[in-house]
């Protein structure tokens, strides 16, 4: 029953895909295509440059056409980065996956439970609580890094995995999105039915409601994953042991040492290329759920 419920959301998204129902005249279509091609090129340009530059030797990066390949050294370069200093880069990638993967999963779980509770339960102070959470959306994570550092120092938790993981599992935006989505997509009648069948509140949540909220959860997960992956200031302030660095901060550290170790120039480039692969994979794998999530509730 629940799988049947989840499907319409997806096929609804497919039905509203462009080109199916509305036919636009040729000239505007060409104009629109041109604009899109130009912007696609604009956005892909840095990626292209990164790919080309990563495939070159140090000398060639400076001396040859920046937008086309010279002698191909991509494999050598990648191997060099992965073996430099006992595989430090691999460790960083692993750390980033841990921080972003686990952090985003826990954040999504907490946010969905919180959002669901705010949407489906009546209790005193509900709106006040929600408004406080919503206020949290407005506070930039960067502004919280320093106070967090002082708090974590007081309990001796700086320079630990926890110091980056714990703040990452907070997602006010996720709570907001979960509440809106739960209100729109989880019918009260269904919850009533589950209760009548003898399910407890927790079982109802995980057995029924979560399945209906999947598009929202994927969206929250993706947002949080990217936010943690790109979070730079928190690790900068919290971490001292380079074996615990996430990849963004590690690459920044290398980049600041280029004056002393010029080989790092190439490593930073190749490392940057490798570091975006998980993000690309996450987007490609999850975007169809995400699209479904964003469209939900817009035509009702």
């Amino acid at each position: 029953m629940t799988t049947l419920q989840a499907r319409p959301a997806r096929s609804a998204a497919a039905a509203s895909a462009p080109g199916r129902s509305v036919r636009t005249p040729v000239v505007p279509r060409i104009a629109a295509m041109t604009v899109m091609v130009v912007f696609t090129g604009y956005f892909l340009f840095p990626l292209w440059w990164l790919l080309v530059a990563s495939s070159k030797t140090r000398g060639d990066v400076l001396g040859t056409n920046p937008l086309w390949f010279a002698d191909l050294h991509l494999v050598d370069n990648v191997r060099d980065v992965l073996t430099y200093r006992d595989g430090l880069f691999g460790q960083w990638m692993g750390n980033s996956l841990l921080y972003a993967g686990v952090g985003a999963a826990v954040a999504t779980l907490l946010a969905s439970m919180c959002g669901y509770a705010l949407a489906k339960y009546q209790f005193r102070g509900r709106e006040a609580l929600f408004n406080v959470v919503l206020g949290g959306v407005l506070v930039p994570a960067t502004a919280l890094a320093l106070p967090l550092f002082l708090i974590f120092s007081a309990v001796d938790l700086t320079d630990t995995y926890w110091s980056v993981l714990l703040p990452s599992i907070v997602s006010p935006f996720g709570v907001y999105l979960s509440r809106i989505y739960a209100a729109a997509s989880v019918p009260d009648e269904l919850i009533e039915a589950a209760r009548l069948d003898g399910a407890g509140e927790i079982r109802t949540f995980f057995g029924v409601s979560v399945r209906l909220m999947v598009p929202a959860l994927v969206t929250v997960y993706l947002f949080q994953f990217v936010a943690i992956w790109n979070n730079f200031f928190l690790p900068l302030i919290m971490l001292r042991d380079e074996r615990k660095f996430p990849v963004t901060f590690g690459l920044y550290t290398w980049n600041s040492q280029v004056n002393q170790i010029p080989e790092l120039n190439t490593f930073v480039l190749v490392g940057a290329l490798l570091s975006i692969i998980p993000l690309v994979v996450a987007f490609l794998a999850l975007q169809r759920f995400w699209r479904g999530g964003l469209g939900a509730g817009s035509v009702k």
Partner: protein, 452 residues
Amino acid sequence: MKKETPMHQRTRTGTVALLASSLLIGTLAACSTGDDTAAGGADAAACEPSEGTVELSFTSWIPGIETAVETWNEANPDIQVTVQTGPNGNSGTYQNFFNQLEAGNAPDLGQIEYDALPNFRVQDGLEDLSACADVVAAQEQFVDWTWGQVTLGDEESVWAVPQDAGPMALFYRADLFEENGIEVPTTWEEYQAAAEQIRELDGYITNFSQSDVNQFAGFVWQAGGQWFANDADGWSVTLADDASTQVADYWQGLMSDDLVATYPAWTPEWDNAYNSGEVWTWVSAVWGANSIASGAPDTAGKWAVAPMPQWEDGGTAAGNWGGSSTAVFKGTEHLYEATKFALWLNTSEEALTILNEEANIYPATTAGLELPVLKEGVEFYGGQAIYDVFAEASAQVNPDFVWGPTMTQVYTDVSDGFKEAATGQGTLLDALEAAQSSTVEALEAQAIPVKQ
């Protein structure tokens, strides 16, 4: 490398405001312990060996520093050091130090560049190492001016152990100078004449980087300028003193006559200008040897090094660009062990050799300048034993140059003005004069006493 985001600056200003009061207390304390033998005795007691195994934490961003620390740990089971790391000082680690000091969990030891030491001193973040007899006795091992950098103009105190130095010299394309029959300049006047000849050949004699105020400071240092001075009455600021004016006018002239290139330093264009032979010389520090070798690989074997041009015919003054120290942070429980490690790291041939091999660190000790690796000819420079030139320069650096406590702000303000000068709005001297007044304001805003 020298850039800070506005965010960092803002948080730093906040930290500074919080610590402004501790500055006054710190200054008073420093005054009262000056000649007081009783207080001196109390200090000496603080530099006693601890019992049992001691664990020290040390933050440094030198690549490969772990190798040196492992060597130490193997030889000293009673004093185990763990390395912490991060980006280079101005890119975040200094800010982290200030945060950690405020949170009360600063490491025992940290790497601090000479120009940042006064900032930590003014905010009372450093232990005075003069309490340790070994440190005081080590003075004679160091090149004079590097010791001056860690006493901060106060003979009674020692705020860090010098680590490395950046004496300056002239890197030049020996092949191009010879082919075109141009004499290698020994004075700044000849340098300008050579610049004109080179410009006719469609090249530039050098690149004047608007963002690297440190290089300019090195020129001022050579010319005998003094940007800051500090005594009991407070700080004096003279960013536009006679020497600075002379240097600013000189480079302004070269820039206005299009005799120097103005690429931003350390960028691909900059590398390329050197690699393609468009730019012929670079007056830079000892570590610049590596920058050229890596940035301009096609020119291998064509470079040579000579002493930097002089203001007076036959003069022997050198500037300095860069260099850092190992400091002990306020609140350490193991001052004695920390200084023991710092001295080993920066004076033993073992450690200095490792640091030189791993990270091209150029030592601050006189014995270090004689390291076997620094006596060899360098292939990239046509087999010339280039470090001999730098060893000589190191002895010629004016020992009295003092950095101010707000160098990040000074660098930002000066380089803003320099960038305008490069586009023809205003001059280098205008930039210095503007930075002079903004620096005085910055000091006053932090309740640091300024002498007008």
